[in-house]
């Protein structure tokens, strides 16, 4: 769900809240403004994900 949309001129940063409370930031280009409170679907490219060890914070993949 869109929490805040930060309009920066050429782009906007939209701050999304996930069901777990973790926040995702996405960049929006163009003039379309997605209103706060809008539910959005997130597409995710699993092959490009990186993994980090929680304790050491070293990259695992």
């Amino acid at each position: 769900m869109v929490d805040i949309s930060e309009q920066l001129g050429g782009v906007a940063y939209d701050y999304l809240n996930t069901p777990t409370g973790e926040r995702i930031i996405v960049e929006t280009k163009g003039d379309d403004v997605v209103a706060a409170g809008t539910k959005v679907t997130v597409d995710f490219a699993p092959a490009t994900a990186m993994f980090f060890d929680v304790t050491s914070e070293a990259r695992l993949r």
């Binding site: 929006t28 597409d43 490219a45 990186m50 980090f52 060890d53 929680v54 050491s56």
Partner: protein, 179 residues
């Protein structure tokens, strides 16, 4: 000869060590130091400029220009040194740091908006991401560990400041975003 050599340059104020750096910068190389507030950038530059004495170690320099404009610097630079708490986290070209961060700190520090981090759960050798409605990510080898919190996943498809990558990320249609 106008390179910079920092040989275990250590700076302490009292018992507090603020920098401990070992690094060569070649003649003509455009090297930028980045890091969060208080990480030791200014102290290191003051040391290089001769305005601060090192507590121990040696430094020599022929002198090169420096800048505090990170956007400009990182766009032009050959090499970036990422500092955190007075220590070097990673050294590399802008693209190295962007595409192959060694650790979570570098991954989160380089680029804007920042890389997104989500907790992962190892589940039958795969990594499940609760924040993405439990989406499962396969790994080349079975993920090790069990229970919560073994992994943190980061989503790297974030468009970065400084145009280091062109992977766009935008709302394709209202209400749907592509990471």
């Amino acid at each position: 000869m106008s390179g910079v050599t920092l040989n275990k340059a250590l700076k302490k104020y009292g018992d507090v060590q603020v920098i401990g750096v070992d690094r060569d910068i070649k003649d003509g190389e455009f090297c930028v130091f980045v890091g969060p507030s208080g990480c030791g950038k200014s102290t290191l530059l003051r040391r290089i400029a001769g305005l601060e004495d090192a507590t121990s170690g040696q430094g020599s320099t022929g002198g090169r220009d420096v800048t505090d404009d990170q956007v400009e610097a990182i766009t032009l630079t050959d090499k970036i040194v990422v500092l955190c708490a007075g220590h070097i986290e990673q050294v590399g070209s802008p693209m190295d740091l962007y595409q192959n961060p060694d650790n979570r700190f570098v991954a989160g520090f380089i680029g804007s908006p920042s890389m997104n981090f989500m907790g992962g759960v190892v589940d039958c050798g795969k990594v499940r991401i609760p924040a993405l409605n439990g989406q499962v990510i396969e790994t080349a080898r079975p993920a090790q560990g069990s229970g919560d919190g073994r992994f943190t996943s980061a989503e790297p498809q974030t468009p970065r400041r400084w145009n280091l990558a062109h992977r766009g990320r935008y709302f394709g249609t209202a209400g749907r975003c592509c990471l």
